[in-house]
Amino acid sequence: MTALDRKLLRDLLQMKGQALAISAVLACGVAMFVMSLTTLASLEQTMDRYYRDYRFGDVFAFLKRAPDALSERIEAIPGVARVQTRVVADVNLQVRGLDDPAVARLISLPDRGAPVLNDLYLRRGRWIEPDRAGEALVSETFAQAHDLRPGDTVRVIINQRQRELTIVGIALSPEFIYEIREGELLPDPLRFGVFWMSRRELAAAFDMEGAFNNVVLSLMPTASEKEVIAQLDRLTERYGGLGAFGRDEQTSHRFISGEIDQLRGMATIVPVIFLAVAAFLFNMVISRMIATQREQIAALKAFGYTRREIGAHYATLVGLIVLSGVALGAITGMWLGQSLVELYVRFFKFPLLQYVIDFRAIAPAIFFSGVAAFAGTFTAVRRAVLLPPAEAMRPEPPAAFRPTFVERMGLQRLFSQSIRMVLRNLERQPIKSLLTCFGMALATSILILGNLNSDIIDRLIDFEFNLAQRQDMTVTFSESSSERASRELTRMPGVLHVEPFRAAPIRLRSAHVSRRTSLLGLEPQRDLFRLLDEHEREIAIPPDGLLLSAALAELLRIKVGEVVHMEVLEGRRPELDVAVAGMIEDYTGLAAYMDIDALRRLLREQDSISGAFLTVDRVQTASLFSQLRETPRVASVTIKRAAIESFQETIAQNLLTMRAFTVAFASIIAFGVIYNSARISLSERGRELATLRVIGFTRGEISLILLGELTILTLASIPIGLLFGYWLGMFTIESLQTEHQRLPLVIGMRTYAFAALVTIIAALLSGLFVRRRLDRLDLIAVLKSQA
């Protein structure tokens, strides 16, 4: 080992505290990067493989009832590879231990062999025997929510008759990776479950012998999905087709791909911000550290070490710190990624969600941090080696001090000599002060980023469920009923208020874009289901025309006042051009609204309703539920509070974990920066401070000079950091917008306060560390050395 290598190792050992802080900062950035990217890769690869291995369909369609013979004609559509017809029905469900009304989706399995498409993965138990009545497979999500095992039974109501189903196995389907009912915002695994039964049995129960009401297609690689959908719609129209759709509108896929999109946004934007911040700090700290070695560099030059040799020396020093930071970050990132993936398994059901260590995810992290670190080192070393050694070895010229701005204003009498030193020092090196301040501000800002998610979720839940949708539950009827049904609801126990609605599946078309959605006909005077814009202003339903989600209007590229082509996919299936009367800047979904009477006129109906929003007296819910269960036309009841609770147990849990990681990283970064800034100030000014001690200053007084500087910089950095945090939030939100989820930028006061508090705590801790070092300042040694 050469003497230079020994110097390297000993320098590293000597600055181990700082080196550790720097590599921890870098490690945080890298860990975020690796965690997000490997989680993303794991989800994507698992999903792709699951879809492929279990033959997830490409096009889906619901219809009323079509003869089996139609299947052959569907198969003949150019581009269609395989066809699976099914019988699907939603029924009321009773599970032991649950008084609330629940819904079971029954899906037929072929009587012979596995499904051609949307195959099942059997987690436990066995397949159903088609000859034995009452056997069913249950989805894992529902089974877990109710602790159901093979052998347990549930009761369903089919055509007003109770039937007992025996669970023989627990299954997973690529169709229900995320198990949520169409049209719902939140999943509710306690009250919605999927069951698979024999085709023969379901057909008999629902009058579907020799017929089907659901079809799944797979496409040839060259097929045009749009073309196939159009042809399929033509074929199914006279059988009550509700409009075929591709994967992008399939509920589970839409959610999971939205999640993947957001994760990709998170995986690129947030870690890049983290890494950039870490790199900036690394750069700042390293260049200042190298600046303190200026004399040693000069001496090496004087002995004839070349620039390249000196450069290589420092590059190795930095390289070791980078390497340890990256290694630590990559390992932590993989570990956290694995735990994140395990969390995803709680609400995304895969046969096996395997954690993928994708080196393509790690390589950019190594590359970016390396480049950032070496860029910083290069400038610092270059500055040091460019200086003629004779000059570098001279003590630095006395800095040009002058009275500071505040003093020039005639306020100097307000300040003690120590405070004046603090102020002058800050003002003398404005760039350095600014950079330190900037570094701290960045640390504060990523603390805000860490809490952004939970602020947004809080806002979304508050907006959707407290401000906009104020009902306690939503009741939907199996077929459209009349106002009489609504009056019946009013008379049920505990019902305080009823607001009927008429919903119809529609397809909107404008130029070349089309979208399936649900049209909600609402009464003009409403208390429960309110349409709000982002400023929480209520929007009135116009007597004619449509109100569209702004996101839907944008998708269809239409403006207020323009006309959109609408097909109602129900009843007499009217098709018409309808004017867009207004837009709603809402956060979720792609919704269309209309006056309930206008919709009824369109459908040539008198006083039809599809369901109603209810507020209820909580004390009487049990008797209300039991009465709702016995009302045959009630197809489903959605309980808002329950949905929010189940959401908070799953996704919110996941977001909180993510937030804990981010906040922990941001805190480490904040501490790393502030601690390093303080340490560097100390090493730069040790001599000056020792001199002050020698001439009689107390420890407290010299601490005041150094820590006073730190305090001023910290206090100055906080408002800047909060502002940066807001900007970063804005930038991040922009990247997380998806078709179905517009995220509001909300940063709560608590988030700002938290960021400021962590910064202050980091500053206090750093101050304490530095203060301890100041107390041990070796006066003689400092004065003996040259500088």
Binding site: T2, A3, L4, R6, K7, R10, D11, Q14, E295, Q296, A298, A299, L300, K301, A302, F303, G304, Y305, T306, R307, E309, P388, P389, A390, E391, M393, P397, P398, A399, A400, A781, K784, S785, Q786
Partner: protein, 242 residues
């Protein structure tokens, strides 16, 4: 002006009309205002002058640590003023040994390692232990600078400077930070190197007494050479007192 005495050997350095101006903070300093000087092979020269007279600047320019604002400096047949940084580095690496007032040891390396720092890149170095023996520090080789006294640190610096067997040894106030007794030990070491290895040696000092051990004394004042004196008899460092 100073081509006076009969040269004992060929000129190692020839400085002609050398000036140097640089800024110290907000002040422009005319460190050298036209210096002509020759240094000869094997001789021991003392550059004498008060603080700020320009002697360190001259030494740094001779040693390739700095470049003059104008004028020429030849090392043997080679013009140093036309050299770029890489060439100056090579020149320092191969030919020059430096001793600084504040030693400039690498604090994280032991005495032996500080010397090895130079021997590892030199063409024909001596063993670090031998250099330390020559500098009069044979038994503290594995101590770190912080464990050595000022005089000992300066002897490590001398060992480090001579270990590469340089053609020239340039010492900038080598005893400036030391007491008389320690200063003499250090000067003895420098004198021994000059005598035993025949290294051309230039020592900067503001201490007139030290000038007595030189072959020639060059007095510098206000950036110019004021006087050059040939010592008829050299005093041994042991007999110096100040």
């Amino acid at each position: 002006m100073n081509q006076t005495t009969a040269a004992p050997a060929r000129a190692v350095f020839q400085a002609r009309n050398v000036t140097k101006v640089y800024s110290m903070g907000e002040v422009k300093v005319h460190a050298l205002r036209g210096v002509d000087l020759d240094l000869y092979e094997g001789e021991f020269v003392v550059l004498l002058g008060p603080s700020g007279s320009g002697k360190s600047t001259l030494l740094n320019i001779l040693g390739g640590l700095d470049v003059p604002t104008s004028g020429h400096v030849n090392y043997l047949d080679h013009d140093l003023t036309t050299d770029d940084d890489a060439a100056l580095t090579r020149y320092r690496r191969d030919h020059v040994g430096f001793v600084f007032q504040f030693y400039n040891l690498i604090p994280s390396l032991t005495a032996r390692e500080n010397v090895a720092l130079v021997t590892e890149i030199a063409r024909n170095p001596m063993d670090p232990a031998e250099a330390l023996r020559l500098a009069g520090l044979p038994d503290r080789m594995d101590h770190f600078p912080s464990q050595l006294s000022g005089g000992e640190q300066q002897r490590v610096a001398i060992a480090r400077a001579i270990a590469k067997r340089p053609q020239v040894l340039l010492c900038d106030e080598p005893t400036g930070a030391l007491d008389v007794k320690t200063g003499i030990v250090v000067l003895e070491a420098i004198e021994r190197v000059n005598r035993e290895l025949g290294t051309t040696t230039a020592v900067i000092t503001h201490n007139v007494t030290i000038a007595e051990m030189a072959d020639r004394v060059v007095s510098i004042f206000d950036g110019k050479i004021a006087n050059i004196k040939q010592n008829t008899s050299k005093t041994s460092p042991r007999e110096l007192r100040w």
